[in-house]
Symmetry: D2
Subunit: 348 residues, 4 copies
């Protein structure tokens, strides 16, 4: 890519944390059995379960390759044929996965949101309305609730909010699934009271994102609800999501969950993002919303945006009005403070 551009388009622009690369190189010629039956996968699974404390004791862990794949595989395996998955209208599965969930035969049932977050009250009313509807045998039954944390807008649920959503789900006996593609950055935020244990406590299934948080690729699905997905191994295979050299996933997560690496490297994304936010505000840029994580959203004049060309790499989010656009900058575990400085300078 062109050197002259300062890249903040996304959080998956680098390879992986050097410790992972080192480990992969080290075992490169050690023969491993296929399909995740290797020792690295077993070790990584145990470490993840250990991190979850008492909530991890009976948990199952599975490694898949990417986020959309994980979402559609998990969702379609949990849902019964007559069910759909409830998601915020802004949810990744509702917008940016090319209909992968519908491809598996299930409706994404969109509800409202506040900065990307489902509201427990609205969810409660949605589920109750379905239950009360005399014609609901002609309708798709809500069979799962999908949330992302951080959300697509970088926002975070508080512990209390997660608990409330979980309570609503439990009341209607519906599993709660958390998409943690950027989970590390949520947990490392300066403004959260949510830990990985909180998530394991309140969610029936969730995944710990690797692709965007230090790994080359890989997402660790954690199932805390017993027997939630029978025959998951075969289902992963059927969905084309089973990596032959599964040990590559094992090695990566084993490394990430050794000495808190996953959590440690996530902090960098937050620190650089917060600095970026502060500097942008100082320069007079307007926040679209206030995100406490690695994705920062700004409302920028289209005229100004033109001047960024060939200098700054950002992500177009949406038209704000006829003269403004919402854009996103994303930091990551690999972002350097220097890059932020250069970005800010270039925006002058």
């Amino acid at each position: 890519m062109e050197d002259s551009i300062i890249h903040f388009e996304s959080d998956y622009m680098e390879g992986c944390h050097p410790k992972i690369l080192e480990k992969i190189a080290q075992i490169n010629f050690q023969k491993q059995v296929g399909y995740g039956q290797d020792d690295f996968c077993q070790s990584a699974k145990q470490k993840i379960k250990d991190t979850l404390g008492k909530f991890g004791k009976d948990a199952e862990v599975h490694f898949l390759v990417g986020g959309t794949q994980t979402n559609s595989t998990v969702i379609s395996c949990v849902l019964k044929p007559w069910q759909g998955v409830v998601s915020a209208k802004s949810g990744h599965i509702a917008v940016h996965e090319a209909g992968a969930v519908e491809y598996t035969g299930h409706k994404v049932m969109e509800i409202g949101h506040k900065d990307g977050k489902i509201q427990a009250e609205e969810l409660q009313e949605y589920l109750q309305t379905f239950k009360d509807d005399g014609n609901n045998t002609h309708m798709v039954e809500p069979g799962m609730v999908y949330i992302s944390h951080p959300t697509e807008y970088g926002t975070l649920y508080s512990k209390n909010e997660l608990q409330n959503i979980s309570s609503v789900c439990k009341k209607y006996d519906i599993p709660l699934f958390l998409d943690g593609a950027r989970l590390g950055y949520g947990l490392a935020s300066f403004e959260t009271d949510v830990t990985l244990q909180t998530i394991a406590e309140f969610c029936d299934v969730f995944y710990i994102g690797g692709t965007k948080v230090g790994a080359m690729f890989g997402e660790a699905v954690v199932i805390t609800k017993k027997d939630l997905i029978p025959h998951f191994f075969t289902m992963i295979k059927q969905h084309g999501a089973l990596l032959a050299k599964g040990f590559l996933l094992g090695v990566q997560f084993d490394t990430l969950f050794t000495d808190n690496l996953y959590f440690e490297i996530s902090k960098n994304a937050i620190e650089t993002a917060m600095y970026l936010k502060q500097k942008m505000l100082e320069k007079g840029y307007k926040l679209y919303l206030d995100s406490p994580t690695n994705q920062q959203f700004f409302i920028v004049e289209n005229e100004k945006l033109k001047k960024w060309d060939n200098k700054v790499g950002f992500c177009f989010i949406e038209k704000y009005d006829s003269t403004h656009t919402v854009v996103r900058f994303a930091t990551s575990w690999a972002t350097k403070m220097d890059d932020v400085e250069r970005l800010i300078e270039n925006l002058e």
Copy 2:
């Protein structure tokens, strides 16, 4: 069913028009070839095409059994794998078909509506926004527009509205599909400038509902856009929608399209519905919205509703507020004016 109740729950409570029954009886022992290859189907198809005038000349007609079946079969056959169908949030396929479209692997892309009708301007903006989105290769492409006429709220598109929606569809090269489950009642309305020819002119595919308009069962799919659905016969079979004794569909539509029977019997539903509306208004009942067709929607106090029990059969639509409910009365080709009188009397 209990005799004491006056039934206005739906428009599919009777068998069929006596002329159909008579014809079926008459040919009962004449041997026919299967799967719609019989002479009655050929004759019925020709009559329907003739009714469409110049717009029917190159049309294809196929007979299916029921509405949900027709919607999911047609929609899934028209859409490409990466596409979804745009529908009003209130559209039958979005709400009351148990996820039949999603079951075929496609997203129902919900947009706003006015009394059940898609607005051409909103549709235009929706399609343009998709086109402009830099990430749209990660999104479901709108591949078809679904409208119902009459809508689920009994409302009708004007000729001008149909033309505008059609223009938008053409601009984005997207087929327009009209669900005519109650088409007869739309065409027979006192307040419409839309004819069957109008529909054939502006829609690429639509169906003429039989089940609710005089037939025992059956929907006639008319494809006006050349080669829109290849191998449709095999697709109908694959979807479990091919009737072995297809001649039963042929006989019914042949009868309905002889001497304008379909149009003539539809008038009765309108006349009884308009009378019902007038009388209800005189009694002080409030319309939920003003429908010019056979479905009439009222806002009724819950207290009053209780008194209807065991006396009046109606359809629950939704909670209006904490003390009121929206209900529907449906007339049909078979409704007697006497029934309406009895209904009104019973409502005090």
Copy 3:
């Protein structure tokens, strides 16, 4: 159709038994609730359950419209996502349903057969081989066994054969499904020890075919295994298989299961078929196989076949060799002995 041709193409060439037509005419203007919630359906279900004796006590009965629809709906509702259905290579679902089962996402796992019948020993070995295979988590799990009775070749399982297949299925905990599209003709055969109760005893789910045995259309699904298919009503809707005027199915099966009508009218098909077989053999025609039911298969010289044109309606089955063809004659509840006589005369 042309009068000069004597039709033996199939067993679904007539409308329905006159008693059914009479009953439909009688109730034509009695208003009924939709979707099979009517009294006729309830009555018909009870009568069918009564016919099954003790095996019907806890059975569920559902009415669908056609055979392919019933097969794909039932099979996809019973199978788990990682499973397929075992069928004879000649099974209707494997050959003539346009991939309707695969369309639902499941493999039809073909095994050998003897004149259309699965052999218990082969089935046992097939299931055991799967169980023993160390790689079977990468394979489709056999999740259901499909048999037809009569088979596609008109042949019948003996009670003993059914029991053996059932035992194998039970051993591997796999439900057994019997496609009874022509069940009446199987039960009415002169050479069977199988009754409807036998079938209810050995099968977990089966259907009693109406379309080919006296009804206009309709198949009665009987589920004897408790809770085999949850939310079946909604699933039927989702598959486009829910008839709005479900009472039409109720009336038909209620009539067929009153005074043994279903069984009585089936006998005619057998009597005419046996007479046809005898006369054909006397004329020197060769059986392809010996069928004890209403479908009769012959090996005919191609030269002779040409002379049948415009005189005799039959069904092409397959090329036998370069100079011979296998053809089928089908009788039905409506076939007249006179027709058979005329057929035989015309074959001279």
Copy 4:
């Protein structure tokens, strides 16, 4: 894994070729755009196309992650909804992909084979029989032919055989797809007249396997038939097969197709396999069939097999008879001659 065991279970037990690892390390912190829009992917695609000579000029190249994923994505994207894919009964898609193709709604139409290879004559007859069948509108249409090269038994098509199969496909206007999971080993065989250009000439779409031939993971799909798969990028996403850090695939294939690395490293697998075969034969072991590639199949007495435990890692293929088993040894680009020597010693 236990050091005491000599591993010949499969050809995906190591990480990747050191040059790939080196390159990945080198660019680890160079920011890349996502989803395969990066320069490495462009370069790799061009190199692959260049290798194909004139047959690559108009080819499209796409990178996916794994084999089953590639098969089900490509096959379901090429097939029309009424079509199935023809495969040898022993084909990977027919046996070991957990029903991934059927999951996409399509039948795998199994035909016979000779040592894993489809026979052109049988294919021709199969396609012609379908075409001639008067009931074929009720049947799944063969819409693609799938072959693997090397096959699941390690065998190879000759150039002449490929040409014949291609001719049959062209005659019936059916695309030919070649699964090249182990393509490098096929091309490096001492007994083949097939080059990558041959494959590009005769196949409409094929993939060059990376996972088993030097890469960590990755398969390069080459589409030689113009416009065979529209919107493939979105389809890959929908199937969960789009890697966020697509540049990892680009880097790997760019390295493999620089200086003939892919072809060079494949030779090692052949040399070690041929040596292994020779030594096994000298020791008196019996071939199950004679494979010219990296998979070698032997018939071994069960008694002998027991002694291999904890000493030799092999792959169970199938029961041969009550006292013998078919087993497979697989070599790879990474196998050392020493390992073969140790294996042979251990088998004494």
